[in-house]
């Protein structure tokens, strides 16, 4: 009964699951290297991630799961919640061992929790689609900063690529310091070494901002203020739908 420690990645986690099966280990807990707290008397194992082993587990899992739930383990993993690994481990174990599908057994705490966590992560993905606000630079690039709670930027690529097919854009995750860049042909992951924007609210420096950009932002703020019906004021509802943590990136909400 050891503590299993893996290298923060999903691949590492899958390798750990593989090793549990291969070496017939029942883990006490599966921990990220980053979050692991030393223990004195228990056994611990460091698992280096192995692409092949991870791949085998992932393929087997996808074969067992309904197409609807194909991404469920990965999405739940992205939440980085405490104890998510053991929940996933127990869930995968049940999936592998039962002869019928157990994905809708919501009487089981693990299945229900994973479903709920998956929903949460999906909601965060949706929020990126909602609250990305592009600013146009002088060279025609549309840039948007964003700070999602979970690392879900990759899930939004398809949407933005389909929608803004005729404009180059860059969506940058400030918290995790990487972004997705689209150059009219394909998308790629980029890391900016020299940042042309304010690190706090993602505002592009005025030297490289296109002239009409501020006009549009003022127009939008103008529209935002005038479409509101004052007699029906309901700030709580507003915050519920549009969490305050996104406000600093929104031209209609950011302080001028």
């Amino acid at each position: 009964m050891p503590y299993m420690i893996y290298d923060n990645s999903f691949e590492g986690f899958l390798t750990t699951v593989f090793e549990c099966y291969a070496q017939k280990i029942v883990p006490i807990d599966i921990c990220r290297e980053r979050d692991f707290q030393e223990v004195l008397f228990a056994e611990k194992m460091n698992i280096p991630s192995d692409e092949q082993k991870a791949d085998r587990v992932w393929k087997a899992l996808r074969m067992k799961l309904h197409t609807r739930n194909n991404e469920l383990p990965f999405l739940a993993f992205l939440s980085e919640e405490d104890g998510i690994e053991m929940k996933l481990y127990r869930f995968m174990k049940r999936v592998f061992e039962s002869s019928y599908s157990i994905e809708t057994d919501f009487g089981d705490r693990d299945v229900l929790d994973l479903k709920k966590i998956e929903r949460q992560v999906m909601r965060e993905t949706m929020r990126i689609l909602q609250f990305v606000r592009f600013q146009k630079t002088k060279d025609g690039l549309f840039f948007s900063p964003i700070e999602p709670r979970y690392n879900v930027l990759p899930f939004t690529i398809k949407h933005f690529k389909n929608r803004f097919a005729d404009q180059p854009w860059l969506i940058y995750d400030i918290k995790r310091d990487y972004g997705i860049y689209y150059n009219l042909k394909k998308t790629e992951e980029v890391v900016l070494t020299e940042k042309g924007f304010d690190g706090r609210n993602g505002k592009i420096k005025s030297e490289i901002l296109e002239e009409s950009e501020t006009t549009y932002q003022v127009l939008w703020k103008n529209y935002f203020d005038n479409i509101n019906i004052k007699e029906r004021k309901n700030l709580k509802l507003q915050r519920q739908h549009m969490p305050q943590r996104f406000w600093k990136f929104l031209p209609e909400k950011a302080p001028v």
């Binding site: 057994d105 009487g107 592009f134 404009q167 549009y216 479409i227 309901n234 507003q238 929104l250």
Partner: protein, 435 residues
Amino acid sequence: MNEKVQEKLKILADAAKYDVSCASSGNNRSNVNGGIGNAVACGICHSFTDDGRCISLLKILMTNHCIYDCAYCINRKSNDRPRATFTVQEIVDLTIGFYRRNYIEGLFLSSGVIKNPDYTMERLMLVTKKLRKEKRYNGYIHLKAIPGASPELIRAAGLYADRLSVNIEIPTEQQLKHLAPEKDYKGVIQPMNQIAEGIQVYKEERKKFRRTPVFTPAGQSTQLIVGASPESDRQILLLSSNFYHEQQLKRVYFSGYLPVNDYDKRLPALKAPPLVRENRLYQSDWLMRFYHYRADEILTPEQPFLDLDIDPKLAYAIRNLHLFPVDINKADYEMILRVPGIGVQSAKMIVDARRFRKLNTYHLKKIGVVLKRAQYFITANELPSALRHWEPERLRSHIIYESHTKNRKPGDTQLSLFAFTPPHQTPALQVHYKN
């Protein structure tokens, strides 16, 4: 883009805000030949105003000049207000500019009637045509069909727009005559029928020919003003149920009447918009669309108005106590859906989960059922806690009382003049212990 456009946008957004509809859902238009934009079937809300309503579309009027003088409308001819008109090019530039910055999901274009309905409709149609053909724009477009416009123009608009809507505003013909003498009921219903028919024809032809031009793929919607005229909730619900079945409408919106023209003696004097009533109507609308209720189940002829203290689903359950309690582990989906406190999502999860084990209230709570309301109406594989013989009237007041105590503060003891008195509590069972 200059000062003039800023000013116009201010006036015309302000004039359009009383249109409730802002949905961008119902269609999966894809981006063709590297143009700009697409539509997502679930719809995306991009911002939320201080009143908590979503901004999904750029909702503006083309002009707020109008030849009509409808009593309930802020843009009526006799009102002294700043007026403005957008040119086609201005609307197109605004839409594309906002869309490229991901501010909006598409365009919602309505208009006051200038010159005549045909002239107005043609201008609206031109905007959509320009967006689709010149700008290769594939985002969402919601267009108002102007009552009285010629069928050819409405047909042409439907070929470019995703959704068309005709606002009926006042639920009955008689009241419409009273409040908007220039409009007639037939003029409103006729385009609605035409659009419904057009969609039907498209669906049939699509089965035979793949290249049939798409006609209003996201369907049509309409809007009713609540509280401006004396119609009962039952009349309103029956009417909207009719729209859903006869004209295959996607949505019927309700707009609580805001006293915008308080000088007009034909309208009721209200201090605040009837927000609770509007909310109850929307809840009933949801019951019809997602919970398989019929309009005449929600409101009976004896009870023409919705109960403002409790939601319509709870009211239905209390009126029909003979249908309950429902056994969570055995009842069919339809019946589980009728339990107050269980929504569509929970009901589906219950039906899925009970194949594996018998569910009890602990499971239900974890799944997300609101037991506070559901407990009076279910049995779940254990001894019932709150189930006993309830008189409908007493159960109603009991539930209201319970829901109030949640928000009561410790020092909040002063009685108000019309305060609700808590129902009589049955004394706890006497238990005798043997020494």
